[in-house]
C-alpha cells in the first residue's frame, strides 16, 4: 500500500473508531492526572498506598494499582516498611540522563 493510501486508510479507521478513541483518550487523560498527583505526593516523601489514597481521595486499591504500575515502569521504588504497609518513593532522576 502506498503512503498516501495508508494515510487515507488510517484516517478512515480513526473515523470508524471515533467513539472508542474518545473514551480511551479520556481514560488516558485521567490516568495522566492521577499519576501527576501521585508523583507530587511522593515528592513530599515516601508514602504507603493507604496514605496516598487518603491524601488524594482515591480508593486504596486504585492507589496500589497505580503504584504497582509506576514501579513496573521505573517511576517509583519500594522504600521502608511502615506498620503492615510498605512505603513507596520516587526513583531519583539520574542527572547524567538529563
Amino acid at each position: 500500500m502506498q503512503a498516501e493510501q495508508r494515510k487515507e486508510a488510517l484516517k478512515r479507521l480513526k473515523q470508524e473508531r471515533k467513539e472508542a478513541i474518545k473514551a480511551n483518550a479520556a481514560t488516558a487523560k485521567q490516568q495522566k492526572k492521577d499519576l501527576g498527583r501521585i508523583k507530587e505526593r511522593l515528592a513530599q516523601g515516601p508514602a504507603t498506598p493507604l496514605e496516598v489514597a487518603q491524601d488524594l481521595g482515591m480508593p486504596p486499591k486504585e492507589a496500589l494499582w497505580y503504584l504497582a504500575a509506576m514501579r513496573k515502569y521505573g517511576m517509583v521504588m519500594e522504600a521502608a516498611k511502615s506498620g503492615d504497609y510498605f512505603t513507596y518513593e520516587l526513583v531519583p532522576q539520574d542527572p547524567a540522563a538529563c
Binding site: 500500500m1 495508508r6 486508510a9 488510517l10 479507521l13 480513526k14 473508531r17 472508542a20 478513541i21 480511551n24 483518550a25 481514560t27 488516558a28 490516568q31 495522566k32 504507603t48 498506598p49 493507604l50 489514597a53 486504596p60 486499591k61 492507589a63 496500589l64 494499582w65 497505580y66 503504584l67 504497582a68 504500575a69 514501579r71 513496573k72 515502569y73 519500594e78 516498611k81 503492615d84 504497609y85 510498605f86
Partner: protein, 435 residues
C-alpha cells in the same frame, strides 16, 4: 501470511501450553515437522504464569522457559501465535485446518521487542498477566519471557495517538493489519487446549460480580507469589497491607452439583498447600488456613508434601465456608459449620481469601473439530484406560487438561503418549517408515 495460503506439516498441535509443547518437541525430535497453533500472543500456557510447582517447589518459569525456547528454535517446529482454529476436518486422509491469524497491529518481521513503544504509550490497562493487580500499556509485550518477544496492540484500549509509531526504531507498528485466514494440512493432530478457571464463580455461586477486593483466585495468588509479580511480594490487593491471616477455600466450583460441576479438579488441594507453604516462607508470622472438603494428595510424594505443610503450621479445617462479607478494614468474614470441632456455626475473619476455583475446559470442539465433549465439557476419550490420548477422530490425539483436569506431571506424561500415538500413526500411514 497471504490469505488462503496452505502450509503442510506432519502434525498439528493445537495449544502451546506445557502439554502441547512437550508433544510438539517429542514429535519434532523424532524428525516430524510440527505446527503449533496457539491463540494467545505467547506460548507457555498456564504453567509459565505459575510461581513454583508442587511437590518439588521448582521454579515454574525455570522449567517452562527452556521448553518454550526449545520449541521456538527447533528446526522442525513452526509456532503460530495469535491464531484461532476455525475448523479442522479430515479430507483425503489429511487433517485440513482452517486457521485465522489475528492481527497484532505490529509487523512481526520488524518488531525487535525493545518495548520503547510500551514505555511511550499513554494508556494504562489492567494487566491480566499479573492478575489485574498492576497495569500494562495499550501496546505491550505480554511478559518478560514471553515467546515470541513481539509487541501487540490492544485495539479495544488504543487511542491511536501514534506515539508508538513515532518511537518504534524499525517502523513495525501497523494499525491497518487485518485478520488473515490460512490452511494447515497435516497427517495428525494433537489437541492440547488446556483449561480455564471458573472466574465467574462469584456470579454463579453468590449472584454477585465480585466478593470484595481481598478475595482472589488461585492464579492471582500465583502472581502474588511469583518473584516478578505485580508487587514483588505477597500483599493484599485491596490496600497493600502485608496480610497476617490468609485462607484458602477449596472446591470453589468443583464437586458442586448446584454449579453443574460434579468433578474434582484434582490439582487444587496440592496447589493450595504449595501456596500456603510459599506464603509461610514469605510471611513467617502469617496464619495460614486451608478450608477443605477432602484432601486429595494422590501423586508421588504428594502425601509427604501435605504432611510437611501441617508440620510447618498450616491449619487444615474440614469445612465448606461461605463468604459472609467484608469488614471496613478490608478483612473478609467467612462463616462455616465446624464439622470436626463441634462448635456449630463459626465466623472467622481473614485478611486475604484465595478461592481454589474449578478447572473448566478451555476449548469447546463442537462445530470446530469432529470430536465430542463429555458431560463435563472436556474432550471425550473413548478408551480412557488403554489409550487415554486417543480421540474419536482418526489420527487425532489429546493430552493434558484438554481431556480433563490434570496436574503438570500427568499432562507431560500424556503429551509423550500422544506424541508416540501420533508418530505411530504417521509411520503406519507411510508404510511403516518412521520420519
Amino acid at each position: 501470511m497471504p490469505n488462503g495460503d496452505t502450509q503442510k506439516f506432519d502434525s498439528l498441535v493445537l495449544g502451546g501450553g506445557i502439554a502441547g509443547l512437550a508433544a510438539a518437541l517429542d514429535l519434532a525430535d523424532a524428525g516430524y515437522r510440527v505446527a503449533v497453533v496457539e491463540q494467545d500472543a505467547t506460548i507457555g500456557g498456564k504453567m509459565i504464569r505459575l510461581s513454583k510447582v508442587f511437590p518439588t517447589l521448582d521454579c515454574a518459569s525455570c522449567i517452562t522457559t527452556p521448553k518454550m525456547a526449545a520449541a521456538a528454535h527447533h528446526p522442525n517446529v513452526t509456532l503460530f501465535t495469535m491464531c484461532r482454529l476455525e475448523d479442522a476436518q479430515r479430507v483425503d486422509g489429511q487433517v485440513r485446518a482452517r486457521v485465522t491469524q489475528m492481527p497484532r497491529y505490529v509487523d512481526p518481521a520488524k518488531c525487535i521487542g525493545c518495548r520503547q513503544c510500551e514505555y511511550e504509550c499513554p494508556v494504562m490497562v489492567p494487566d491480566q498477566e499479573q492478575g489485574g493487580f498492576t497495569a500494562r500499556k495499550a501496546i505491550y509485550i505480554p511478559f518478560s519471557n514471553a515467546i515470541p518477544q513481539l509487541a501487540l496492540i490492544d485495539r479495544e484500549h488504543c487511542m491511536m495517538c501514534g506515539k508508538c509509531s513515532q518511537v518504534c526504531p524499525t517502523g513495525a507498528v501497523d494499525q491497518l493489519q487485518t485478520e488473515q485466514e490460512f490452511i494447515i494440512e497435516a497427517d495428525t493432530m494433537v489437541l492440547s487446549t488446556g483449561f480455564e478457571l471458573m472466574e465467574d464463580f462469584p456470579q454463579r455461586a453468590y449472584g454477585s460480580p465480585g466478593l470484595g477486593d481481598n478475595v482472589i483466585s488461585s492464579l492471582q495468588m500465583e502472581r502474588l507469589l511469583a518473584p516478578h509479580g505485580p508487587y514483588m511480594r505477597a500483599l493484599r490487593p485491596g490496600d497493600g497491607k502485608e496480610p497476617e491471616s490468609i485462607a484458602f477455600i477449596q472446591c470453589a466450583g468443583s464437586r458442586d452439583l448446584q454449579l453443574g460441576k460434579p468433578y474434582c479438579s484434582r490439582v487444587c488441594c496440592m496447589y493450595a498447600i504449595k501456596q500456603a507453604m510459599l506464603l509461610s516462607g514469605a510471611l513467617p508470622l502469617a496464619d495460614l488456613t486451608i478450608y477443605y472438603m477432602d484432601i486429595r494428595a494422590f501423586g508421588k510424594n504428594y502425601e509427604q508434601f501435605y504432611n510437611n505443610a501441617k508440620a510447618m503450621g498450616v491449619e487444615f479445617v474440614k469445612a465448606k465456608p461461605i463468604i459472609a462479607g467484608n469488614n471496613p478494614g478490608g478483612s473478609v468474614v467467612l462463616r462455616y459449620e465446624d464439622q470436626e470441632g463441634g462448635s456449630g456455626a463459626v465466623s472467622r475473619e481473614h485478611d486475604l481469601v484465595v478461592l481454589s476455583l474449578a478447572m473448566l475446559p478451555a476449548f469447546a470442539p463442537e462445530e470446530i473439530v469432529p470430536v465430542s465433549a463429555a458431560s463435563d465439557g472436556f474432550i471425550t476419550v473413548p478408551q480412557p484406560k488403554l489409550a487415554p490420548t486417543l480421540t474419536e477422530m482418526e489420527g487425532v490425539f489429546t493430552c493434558g487438561a484438554a481431556a480433563g483436569p490434570k496436574d503438570i506431571v500427568d499432562s507431560i506424561a500424556e503429551a509423550g503418549a500422544a506424541a508416540m500415538g501420533a508418530a505411530k500413526y504417521l509411520a503406519a500411514q507411510r508404510g511403516g517408515q518412521a520420519a
